[in-house]
């Protein structure tokens, strides 16, 4: 899988018009001598045939070497590792907060009449439609400029994390909530809930002990994808809150067309997606005994 991602990105990057050696030396406009170009080609291995370059890249990736940045003249792997922690913290917190919000909304609004249900699903649709960049702006406006309680720039302090996490968590909660509500609704109509009720289980017990396990399953299996898309959301959020991290590194690299950095970040994001898929498979097994039996 990782091999496929690496191959795809390698050949996609070959499609870039222009000479990569020129890009390293400052773009097509710069006056570069043929000797300098040849030196750069030799340094980055660009004078080799494509197949050799491809195999070399795979070999380097296998040893954890992501190559050298065109623009920053540093190795990509340490750069990415350095930024990874901040983004992972952000994404993990956002996932947790998103789950709590979605759970609260879905359990609150089911079994509370049609009005509550309409409010719940309306809130979810609006939340899921909120673009990160606008929500971030609105939150800064409200909490930093008008109320003055939270910093508009995300620093290392916990207070600086609140707004970025909320920005990522609210749309995620809308998305997860829609899925959870539908599943919860289905679960509450099934025979096992009827039998739980017949045994005299309280309404709260029916929802939290019996139905929720079923309702959570589709949301759990989508969480892997959701986590990885949080990394993509981090591109916007880290830019707005001037927070160092993978997303901002990626955006800067795309803007100056720093190919090795972009490829490195994309590979790490793909790796995060695969790791999260494993985690969600495991979580599904815990939540659903039927998966364990088979």
């Amino acid at each position: 899988m990782l091999w496929a991602v690496a191959t795809l990105t390698f050949f996609a990057v070959r499609l870039i018009p222009g000479d990569p050696a020129e890009a390293i030396l400052g773009g097509p406009g710069s006056q570069t001598s043929p000797e300098a170009l040849a030196a750069v080609r030799a340094e980055y291995g660009l004078d080799q045939p494509v197949l050799v370059q491809y195999l070399q890249q795979l070999l380097r990736l296998a040893t954890g070497d992501l190559g050298r940045s065109y623009a920053l003249n540093t190795d990509v792997a340490p750069l990415v590792l350095e930024q990874l922690g901040g983004t992972l913290t952000l994404a993990a917190l956002a996932l947790a907060v998103g789950w709590v919000l979605a759970l609260a909304l879905a359990t609150w609004s089911t079994r509370r009449g049609t009005v509550a249900r309409a409010i719940g699903s309306g809130l979810e649709i609006v939340a899921a439609a909120l673009p990160h960049f606008w929500l971030a702006t609105a939150l800064i406006l409200l909490f930093s400029i008008w109320l003055g309680v939270l910093p508009p720039i995300s620093t290392a302090s916990p207070a600086g994390l609140v707004l970025p996490v909320l920005t990522l968590a609210i749309p995620l909660a809308g998305f997860l909530g829609q899925i959870m509500r539908e599943a919860l609704f289905t679960a509450l109509e099934s025979p096992f809930v009827l039998s739980a009720r017949a045994r005299g289980e309280s309404e709260r017990g029916v929802i939290w002990i019996h139905a929720l396990r079923h309702a959570a399953l589709p949301a759990i299996s989508l969480s892997g994808w959701a986590f990885a898309s949080l990394v993509s959301g981090a591109v916007v959020v880290e830019t707005v809150f001037a927070r160092p991290g993978l997303g901002r590194t990626l955006l800067n690299a795309v803007t100056v067309r720093d190919v090795p950095v972009v490829v490195g970040v994309v590979l790490v994001a793909a790796l995060a997606y695969m790791a999260m898929t494993l985690v969600t498979d495991f979580a599904s097994r815990i939540a659903d005994p039927r998966l364990r039996a088979s």
Partner: protein, 289 residues
């Protein structure tokens, strides 16, 4: 439509247990959605009808005015009326969203049909390919595309379209497979119809019918992503009246003039909400009709 087909559609509506009577009356929320959508469509087709001014008319003396009766959404750094600019930006933003969705659906249909119709080996290959694409969630695929072809409106459209394609392809493939193995296709086969006729008259229409809903839901998402790219400086550029670009330009003045970024964003949200709400209510009605 034969009874078989109706039965098949009902069985396709997996997991839905909501008790909505067929031909339910239009609810308050649906009415509001229709009204806002109508306004947005008028703004896109004939912006002068709802905002008579010139979106590029500069009036430096009245720069940075807060929302008032004269300027409903306030004025920007050059004294341009924000309401006029937002309304005139509707066509740009809707066109970008619709074009990106069309590209995404096009690729999705192509990949999904290939996977669903051409046998197991092709299906396996296309599926692996889709899985690889799923490892680039959200904007990552779009950013990779922009890295290769450079920023700009056209690349942003194609980039957003391509990033949505894997999702469509997967849904279409699933739909195709479930329609192919449904009772009415078996009935048609038993009746001795040719394969081509079964495909053209029975399988494809039933596979492609839900696409209208998917497309409606997708336009909202596409507009949000395309304006995110503009916001990041990789799509439409600031003097253009495009919502994402306007919001990005207003960010500089956030502390003094919040209305510059608030209202373009509000329109993005309104559009996305309307697209989702309309898509969902059509979906419900189709399921229960």
């Amino acid at each position: 439509m034969t009874d078989f087909e109706i039965q098949a559609r009902v069985s396709l509506a997996e997991g839905d247990r909501s008790r909505i009577p067929p031909r339910a009356r239009i609810s308050v929320a649906e009415g509001a959605t229709i009204a806002v959508t109508a306004f947005l469509l008028v703004a896109a087709v004939a912006p002068a009808l709802v905002a008579p001014g010139d979106p590029f008319a500069i009036d430096p003396l009245s720069a940075f005015q807060a929302p008032s009766i004269d300027h409903g959404f306030g004025t920007d750094e050059s004294g341009r009326d924000v309401y006029t600019r937002v309304v005139h930006g509707t066509r740009n933003s809707l066109t970008i969203g619709a074009a990106a969705t069309a590209i995404g659906l096009g690729f999705g249909i192509l990949l999904g049909t290939i996977a669903g119709m051409l046998g197991r080996v092709v299906d396996f290959t296309v599926n692996r390919f889709l899985e690889v694409l799923f490892a680039f969630p959200g904007l990552l695929l779009a950013l990779l595309f922009i890295l290769i072809f450079g920023p700009g409106v056209a690349t942003a459209i194609v980039a957003v379209g391509l990033s949505t394609a894997p999702g469509y392809a997967r849904i279409i493939r699933g739909q195709l497979i479930s329609v192919r193995s449904s009772a009415f296709v078996e009935a048609a086969t038993v009746q001795g119809l040719t394969r081509r006729r079964i495909l053209a008259r029975h399988i494809l229409p039933n596979t492609l019918a839900p696409l209208f809903v998917l497309g409606t839901l997708g336009i909202g998402q596409a507009i949000v992503w395309a304006s995110a790219l503009s916001y990041l400086g990789l799509g439409a550029e600031p003097p253009a009246a495009e919502w994402g670009a306007m919001l990005a330009a207003g960010r500089t003045y956030l502390t003094t003039a919040w209305w510059l970024s608030f209202f373009p964003g509000l329109f993005i949200v309104l559009t996305a909400v309307c697209a989702t709400a309309i898509g969902r209510s059509i979906e419900r009605r189709v399921r229960h009709a």
